[in-house]
C-alpha cells in the first residue's frame, strides 16, 4: 500500500517538533510558524513557555475579550497567565536564555546546513537585518530545532551543504522539520528520521542540496493523535 503523496502542513510540522518536548522542558518558540508548536497538547507532560520579554510559564493564547493588555508573548500575541508564571526584566530574561536554561528553542529559517548552521536574520540584497533574540537563543539554548519549508517558493533547496546567507549561529541545529519530513543533524549531516506520506527518500533527496543519510529506523511521519 502506498500513501498518497502529501506535503505536511505547518501545523503538522510543528506538532511533530512539539512531540519531542519532554516533561518539564523550558521552551522558547520563535515568532511566526514555531508558535504553532503550542497548539500541540499532551496532558502527560508540562511545558514551560518562556518568551524574550521575560515571561516564564505563560499559557495558551487569549481568546477574544480575554486579553490582558499587559501580557503578550514574543510575537505580540496576547497570552493567558498560567499558575506559577513569573516575570523578569529583559536582561534577566536573556540571562535565562544565554545561561543555558532553555531546553529547546524552535525557530524558522531561510536555510539550514548539514553542519548545523542556520540562517534566519538577513537577506544580503536587503539592507539591515532582523535579529531579535535569535542569535542569543541559538547560542544559549540546549537544543535548536528548525521548522521550514523544504524548498523556496521557486523550488530551490533550503537544506544545504553550507548556508549561502549570513548565519545566525554555527553548528547548533539538532533537529529540522520540513513539509517533507523530520531530520536530525548528526556529525554525519542530515539524517532523515521520518518521511511525509508518499514521499520516498530518493524524492526528498532530489529536492535537497545536502546529502541525506537515511535513518536505519526510518519511519512514517508521526501525526497528532
Amino acid at each position: 500500500m502506498t500513501a498518497e503523496k502529501t506535503k505536511l502542513t505547518r501545523q503538522q510540522m510543528c506538532d511533530r517538533l512539539a512531540m519531542e518536548f519532554q516533561d518539564g522542558w523550558i521552551v522558547n518558540l520563535g515568532v511566526g510558524m514555531p508558535t504553532l508548536c503550542s497548539n500541540y497538547v499532551d496532558d502527560s507532560r508540562e511545558i514551560i513557555n518562556q518568551s524574550e520579554n521575560g515571561v516564564v510559564g505563560y499559557g495558551p493564547l487569549a481568546g477574544e475579550g480575554e486579553e490582558d493588555r499587559h501580557l503578550v508573548n514574543a510575537g505580540g500575541q496576547h497570552v493567558t497567565p498560567l499558575a506559577g508564571m513569573g516575570i523578569v526584566h529583559h536582561a534577566d530574561s536573556f540571562g535565562i536564555i544565554r545561561g543555558g536554561m532553555i531546553d529547546v528553542t524552535v525557530m524558522g529559517a531561510y536555510e539550514v546546513a548539514e553542519n548545523g548552521d542556520f540562517a534566519n536574520w538577513r537577506i544580503p540584497t536587503r539592507k539591515g537585518g532582523g535579529i531579535g533574540g535569535a542569535m542569543d537563543l541559538a547560542a544559549g539554548a540546549k537544543r535548536v530545532f528548525i521548522a521550514l519549508e523544504h524548498t523556496t517558493r521557486e523550488g530551490e533547496p533550503r537544506l544545504l551543504k553550507r548556508c549561502t546567507l549570513p548565519i545566525t549561529a554555527p553548528g547548533v541545529v539538532k533537529m529540522v522539520v520540513t513539509d517533507l519530513g523530520l531530520f536530525a543533524i548528526t556529525p554525519a549531516g542530515f539524517e532523515l528520521l521520518e518521511n511525509a506520506p508518499g514521499w520516498n527518500p530518493e524524492e526528498i533527496q532530489e529536492l535537497t542540496e545536502a546529502r541525506i543519510n537515511i535513518s536505519p529506523n526510518l519511519k512514517d511521519f508521526r501525526f497528532r493523535g
Binding site: E52, R69, S93, A139, I167
Partner: protein, 238 residues
C-alpha cells in the same frame, strides 16, 4: 527632597536637547512610553540617538518610529533594522534604505546586557552570542573554558523614557506582567529617567519594599498619564 512629580508630559521632556541619546523601552507594543514619546515629538528635539528593541511598527500608535518618521532621529540602536517580513516597510525601513537615518544592529540579549552594564559601572562583557556570524566581525574574540566569546561594551544614555504601572513620589516603580521588559534596565542606565505612570502617583510608603522593581534613586521625573492620554486601548487606570 526635590519634587519629582511633573504635571504634564510636555514639561517632563521640555529640556531634552538636540543630539541626546534616548532610551525607548517596550516590546511588542507593551510597556512603550507612548505619552512621553508623543511629547518629545511635539517638543521637536532633533539628531537623537534612540536605543530601542525595534525602530517602530506599522500601527498608528506613537512609538520610537514616530520620532524617526518626523526626522528627529539620527541613529537607531536596535535589534531589528529590517522588517521580519519584506512587506512590512515601516517609516524607519524606508528612511534607512534611503540613508536618511543610521542604525546599529545589536542582538537583543546583547542589547539588554549592554544597557545593564552601562547602569552598573561595568566596562565590558564577553558573550557567546553572535560568535561565528557576520555581526561578530571586527569584534574582539576570546576563548575561555573552551568556548569563544566576543567583547561587548556598555550602552549608556542621556535620557530614558519609561512606562510604569505604579510609582510612588520617590520614584519607586512597579511594572505589570510583560510591561516590564526593557523598562527597568533603561530606567537604571540613563542619566535622567522620566516615567509615565498608569496609576495615580502613590505616597511614599505605599509600595511594599520587597516589591519595588526599580528603586526611586534611579528616577528623576514622574508624570501620571492623563485620562485623555495614550492608554493602548485600555481604560485609564486599569
Amino acid at each position: 527632597m526635590k519634587n519629582k512629580v511633573y504635571a504634564t508630559m510636555d514639561e517632563a521632556v521640555a529640556d531634552i536637547p538636540d543630539g541626546s541619546t534616548v532610551m525607548c523601552p517596550g516590546f511588542s507594543g507593551v510597556g512603550v512610553p507612548r505619552n512621553l514619546l508623543a511629547a518629545v515629538n511635539r517638543q521637536g528635539a532633533k539628531e537623537l540617538t534612540c536605543i530601542s528593541n525595534n525602530a517602530g511598527t506599522l500601527d498608528e500608535l506613537v512609538d520610537v518610529g514616530t520620532l524617526v518618521e518626523a526626522g528627529q532621529v539620527k541613529k537607531m540602536v536596535c535589534a531589528f533594522t529590517a522588517p521580519t517580513h519584506p512587506s512590512m516597510v515601516t517609516p524607519f525601513v524606508r528612511m534607512y534604505n534611503e540613508g536618511l537615518v543610521d542604525a546599529e544592529l545589536v542582538p537583543q540579549g546583547t542589547l539588554a546586557e549592554r544597557i545593564r552594564i552601562a547602569a552598573f559601572g561595568i566596562g565590558g562583557f564577553y558573550t557567546p552570542t553572535s560568535v561565528g556570524t557576520e555581526l561578530a566581525e571586527g569584534k574582539e574574540h576570546r576563548e575561555m573554558n573552551g568556548r569563544t566569546y566576543v567583547l561587548e561594551y556598555p550602552l549608556p544614555a542621556d535620557y530614558a523614557l519609561v512606562r510604569a504601572w505604579r510609582a510612588d513620589k520617590f520614584g519607586n516603580l512597579q511594572f505589570r506582567l510583560s510591561q516590564r521588559n526593557f523598562n527597568p534596565i533603561m530606567a537604571m542606565a540613563a542619566t535622567t529617567t522620566i516615567v509615565e505612570v498608569e496609576n495615580d502617583v502613590l505616597d511614599i510608603g505605599e509600595i511594599d519594599p520587597d516589591q519595588v522593581h526599580v528603586s526611586g534613586i534611579y528616577v528623576d521625573r514622574i508624570v501620571k498619564i492623563p485620562d485623555d492620554g495614550i492608554w493602548d486601548g485600555a481604560k485609564p487606570g486599569l
